[in-house]
Symmetry: C2
Subunit: 239 residues, 2 copies
Amino acid sequence: MTVVEESLKRVRAGSSKAQNNEESTYRQISSAILEQRLAPGTKLTEEVLGEIFNVSRSVIRRVLTKLSFEKVVELRPNRGAVVASPTLEEANQVFEARRLVEDAVIRSCVERAEKQEIAALKKLVSAELDCNRTGDRIRWIRLSGEFHIELAKLAGNQLLVDFLTDLVAQTSLAIALYGQSNGSICGDDDHQNIVEAIEAGDAEKAARLMLKHLSECQASLTTREQHTSEDLRAIFSKS
Amino acid sequence: MTVVEESLKRVRAGSSKAQNNEESTYRQISSAILEQRLAPGTKLTEEVLGEIFNVSRSVIRRVLTKLSFEKVVELRPNRGAVVASPTLEEANQVFEARRLVEDAVIRSCVERAEKQEIAALKKLVSAELDCNRTGDRIRWIRLSGEFHIELAKLAGNQLLVDFLTDLVAQTSLAIALYGQSNGSICGDDDHQNIVEAIEAGDAEKAARLMLKHLSECQASLTTREQHTSEDLRAIFSKS
DNA sequence: TCATCGAATATTGTGTACAATTTTACCGTG
DNA sequence: CACGGTAAAATTGTACACAATATTCGATGA
């Protein structure tokens, strides 16, 4: 590559926002599932998705592969991809793993969290409460998951952050399948109380609240009739 | 598909062992890394690997993608794959995560393990000790990892099994990078003692031994000079 | 009516050609 | 001889054609 070409490249990288189609497609499909706009069991046909996002089938294929590693999508050999449908048994294992991880995470948070970080958590919780009031369920689901992941980041172990991120995603699927459709999924101010315990430096209380929070959420799961989403195009036209 | 074709397919599926090239390639590359025959940092050129295993570049590409999700290889955009080189910091996080998971796992094992399963563990430990005696380091590395994963399977949570499997793989890389090249990696009869504590139904002791085992292994890590493997063909000719 | 078959269609799987990028090797210049 | 710079080679990235497989649907006969 000549010197001229190299500098041209730097200019382009800086100005254009490199609108990374694969990453963007990944985020949109992932969000649609985690925000429960795409129901578990929904067929994800490669060509249809490719047309929706205006990318080639190979891009869709890579995205679906990644989602399948996160257990958000199930890849059935020769039969294509569907939004994953964890069994109730698997859902319970998700909560068991979360209790294990998040108990450790929150104790570490109490030790490590700085004033500034606690302020950020409060802001997140406040945004959650707003969503509750305005009935913005979709945003609430997202923020609620982010709260747990944010705690894990504070705890400082990237492996646990990654693992918990997958667990949170699977929790969303579990709730879509087994959660009470009416009523709230878990206590409205659970997160608020947890932040207060962190701020007070009370590790035992924070851990107790977290475990209670998770167990209550798990206990609210129950089998019920299920139906899948049909029209992919309609669903993604909103996003 | 006609009736005739369908039955033909069943016959083939039963008789031929479907020698699944992709799966086999995955296992061979994965094993070579985990058994430390391929050093961290070694470049994994797609075409070379394709020639070695007699598969197309697309197969190699999928295999490398999978290994990268397991954090066993690093995929550098436009610059190809290398055997992953976790930093010392990352290695410490691996051990931190392992202590968390394996403490829970072993307590669950003590509660759940049946006589038969304990016998299987003993057999595994005995095979490990054999390797120590005969100096079969490669097999020892494999069995040693399997011991931990077997415990996780007994504990009964598939998510923890999968997570720990990744952690064990990364441990192998960490030891390759930061372990003492001479001398043993960890206490020869640590595993044996753990099984005995499980058999005695002593959860506290089993957990204490496990945490000590992991911490000692972690403590033995230290930075030292590194060099990568060169000749991929020579390495895979042995397997 | 219902089950079964099989052709037609739809969808997924894979190798390969070509594009984009990086790496290497070489050359002239100070 | 070191230091850019350039062209050539090597390597990775991606779309697409075609193969393999699954699904749909109308026809046929018990």
